[in-house]
Amino acid sequence: MNNYILSKKLFRNELSTFYSFLIGFIVALFVGSLILLIQDKNPIDVFSLMLKLSVGSINSLSNSLNKAIPLILAGLGISIINSVRLWNIGAEGQIFMGALALNFFYINSSIQNSTLYIFLLLTASFIGGSICILIPALTKVLFGVNEIITTLLTNYIVFGLTIYLINGVWKDPASLNFPAAAYVNESVYLPIIVGKLSSGFLICIIFTLLAFYIKDKSVFGYEMRIAGGSELTAIYAGISAKQKAFLAMLIGGGFAGLAGGIELLSQTHRVSTGISQGFGYTAIIVAAITGMRPLGIFLVGCLFGALTIGGSVIQTIGVSSYIAEIIQATTLFGALVAQFFFSYEIKKKVENG
């Protein structure tokens, strides 16, 4: 007979998410080391090189933080949507859609004041992200279609749309055979703050605080929590659970769209398939590790940005850049297992009717 059951712990340590992350990260470094040892590389050498080349100088640090911007913004979007206990797997598509919307607005407009223009372009990218999640949001609230599936599927649609545009109507003749849209004018590039750090990072800080405020301090955040807890309670309280879910999805999608806009104006400067390198998927890991906390997403996003940069530079000594992705994924895995043990305990079974 099975006399033991798992039961949810009633009280959790407030820092348990942070401890879980630390445990996950240590496990991930250990696993990464093992893989390096198999390849006859000294893990300490590799890791110290990664550290040096990702945060060792102003330039490398700013590269890392630039990489963190899309992870953080998309992660924040995912966390806002998770307030109503829905999952957004479509951040990758929303990032692309943000860039497409920005480019569409750019092609069809001309504004002299570049500050205003940048502001409007980024607004367009935010709206683009919202449009991208519009169909999953509508099908969710109208027909109850599982949002995990629909947001995932929109990724493929938007990626296909991007390929179509950059090989077709938007294709830049000057790019020869490389499929990409024309570069935007230098006047709308996001200015650099210091080193190579894009001012997109400031936007990122502002939006982190905004997401924190929405989730923790606003009436809307409260209503999302109640709606996420129980739709029946929300109806009982006079809160429209469907409306909150719909708005949360549009806002969350907008955050990811903005990430695509910033990426275009600060890194690629044109629409190409390089707008995102899986940022929307990594953002899910970032958001999940932090238990959907905006400030945590900011910090872990910065760390993962540094890991990505570190991973790309160690290729020069013959180590695959995938080591960074292995560390990221194993961190999530370790953290989730640790969170499980922080949240549940094994108890002796009590029979009841």
Binding site: L10, F11, R12, E14, K217, S218, V219, F220, G221, Y222, R225, I226, G228, G229, S230, L232, T233, A234, I235, Y236, A237, G238, V350, E351, N352, G353
Partner: protein
């Protein structure tokens, strides 16, 4: 008398401190339709779970066909011919009728399935091909398939738990004929478990009655026993302990006029309901649950906005308006389903405490945590709630404290109208007492209270007037001075003298 096909003696089963079965005797005769009557929680389902091998009793013996069974388990019970239809169907929705019927390895009609299906679908007047998917059947048809499943796996003893709860009156009388045929032609032994007096009289030949885990009457001949006697057995003695009823009544606060409601399954769940409640008055709503109580409170509280009739609070017509219109007129609703409707599971104690008045802690879009905390601390003090950590999930509170938080949240603003549904269900004695005091205090403050309860003790103790709901209709209305338990009990069972 012949030897019973099944006989249990002295069965006891306890859960924690609760004695669910207290040395129960029960026996069944072959080919007879038996009735097992009792209120909710009397122990009927526990007994059936013992017979089908799901619960292992601490004491007692089980004999099947005069053979003593040492340790019954579900598989053994099934092979000995005991089959049960649970209240929740156990059918595979995406399978056809045939697949569901032949799923059991004990199935006896594999070879000649077609003839058997023809025979029994006629007995049950089930007009569907056996290739129909179960999910395409109506609730009544699913019920038929569920019972046929027992026949197909050769169950000689068929235990039916509240089989009529989901049926229309026509389907119920059809079921009666089918069961009679089965007991006469196939010599099936049938047990009908119910709290509906009328059906037990209609369906059965012999009746057993349970009360508080004990068997209080055995083998009563159905045609010789009176309704009144059965009600007395089922309800037991009622302590007519009561709060003082010298409360002053004021002007009418809640008025309900000719409410009718047809639900999504096109069942007429509320039929022409009218009443009013004055300030300082408690109107009790008696009735077995599922007779329209939840729908009635949803209509009054604005959750169900489409219905026929009118709801007036302080003479303001709020029909067709939502929850917020009621909040403005200071109506409070304590729903039957505490965790899931009244409180949001997985959300903190603090967040849950503010559900009624969170907009009062807001400045525009900003929500003040400080104000919410002050409000919660007031609740905790005033209603002596034990909450170890207000930021922890609501499920960290005990049932009694959850209910106190919910009551406190709904009562602290001194509401004009209170709708309280089953406010003490599942609580221990001391919690029940404090909840009762809260309701009486609120009455004395001048609230109009609609108290929905299955517990007649509670209704007698608190109410000034009582109405009885049966199948969505007010079947009886009495002042507390002229009310008597028996006639209320009969009305709850659908019989109005």
């Amino acid at each position: 008398m012949t030897v019973p096909i099944l006989e249990v003696k002295g069965i006891s089963k306890t859960f924690g401190k609760v004695k669910a079965l207290d040395s129960v005797d029960f026996y069944l005769q072959k080919g007879v339709v038996h009735g097992l009557l009792g209120e909710n929680g009397a122990g009927k389902s526990s007994l059936m779970n013992v017979l089908s091998g799901i619960y292992i009793p601490e004491q007692g013996t089980i004999k099947i066909q005069n053979k003593k069974i040492e340790r019954l388990n579900p598989e053994l019970a099934s092979s000995l011919g005991i089959g049960m239809v649970h209240q929740e169907f156990r059918l595979i929705e995406n399978f056809t009728i045939k697949d569901n019927l032949t799923l059991s390895k004990a199935n006896i009609f594999l070879e000649n399935f077609k003839e058997a299906y023809l025979k029994y679908s006629e007995i049950f007047s089930l007009n569907s091909s056996y290739n129909t998917l179960v999910k395409d059947l109506s609730v009544g048809e699913k019920q038929k398939v569920e019972i046929m499943k027992l026949i197909f796996k050769n169950s000689a003893i068929m235990l039916l738990d509240e089989p009529t709860a989901v049926l229309t009156p026509q389907e119920t009388s059809q079921l009666k004929i089918s069961l009679e045929t089965l007991s006469k032609e196939d010599e099936k032994t049938i047990v009908l478990i119910t709290h509906k007096l009328k059906e037990i009289k209609d369906f059965t030949e012999t009746i057993f009655v349970m009360k508080n885990g004990k068997m209080v009457a055995e083998n009563l001949q159905t045609d010789k026993v009176s309704d009144k006697h059965l009600i007395e057995l089922m309800m037991g003695e009622i302590k007519t302990m009561s709060f003082k009823k010298d409360n002053l009544k004021g002007e009418t606060k809640l008025e309900v006029q000719n409410i009718s409601l047809i639900n999504n399954d096109e069942v007429n769940v509320l039929k022409d309901i009218s009443f009013n409640i004055k300030s300082g008055e408690i109107l009790g709503v008696a009735g077995v649950s599922g007779n329209g109580q939840v729908e009635l409170s949803n209509v009054i509280c604005g959750i169900q906005q489409e219905f026929n009739g009118k709801v007036l609070i302080n003479s303001n017509d709020v029909s067709g308006k939502g929850v917020k219109s009621r909040k403005k007129l200071n109506l409070s609703y304590i729903p039957e389903n505490r965790l899931g409707v009244g409180l949001a599971p997985g959300v903190s104690v603090l967040d849950n405490s503010a559900i009624r008045e969170y907009f009062k802690a807001s400045y525009g879009p900003h929500l003040s945590k400080g104000k919410m905390l002050n409000y919660l601390n007031d609740l905790i003090k005033q209603f002596s709630i034990k909450a170890p950590d207000v930021k922890a999930e609501i499920s960290t509170l005990s049932g009694g404290n959850m209910q106190k938080l919910l009551m406190g949240r709904e009562l602290i603003s001194n509401p004009e109208v209170i709708v309280a549904a089953q406010p003490t269900r599942g609580l221990d004695v001391s919690a029940v007492e404090s909840i009762h005091k809260l309701i009486i205090n609120q009455r004395d403050e001048g609230s109009a209270v609609l108290l929905i309860s299955e517990d007649l003790d509670e209704l007698f103790k608190l109410s000034d007037r009582i109405i009885v709901l049966y199948e969505g209709r007010i079947i009886k209305e009495v002042d507390i001075e002229s009310a008597n338990i028996e006639s209320l009990g009969l009305a709850m069972a659908g019989i109005n003298e």
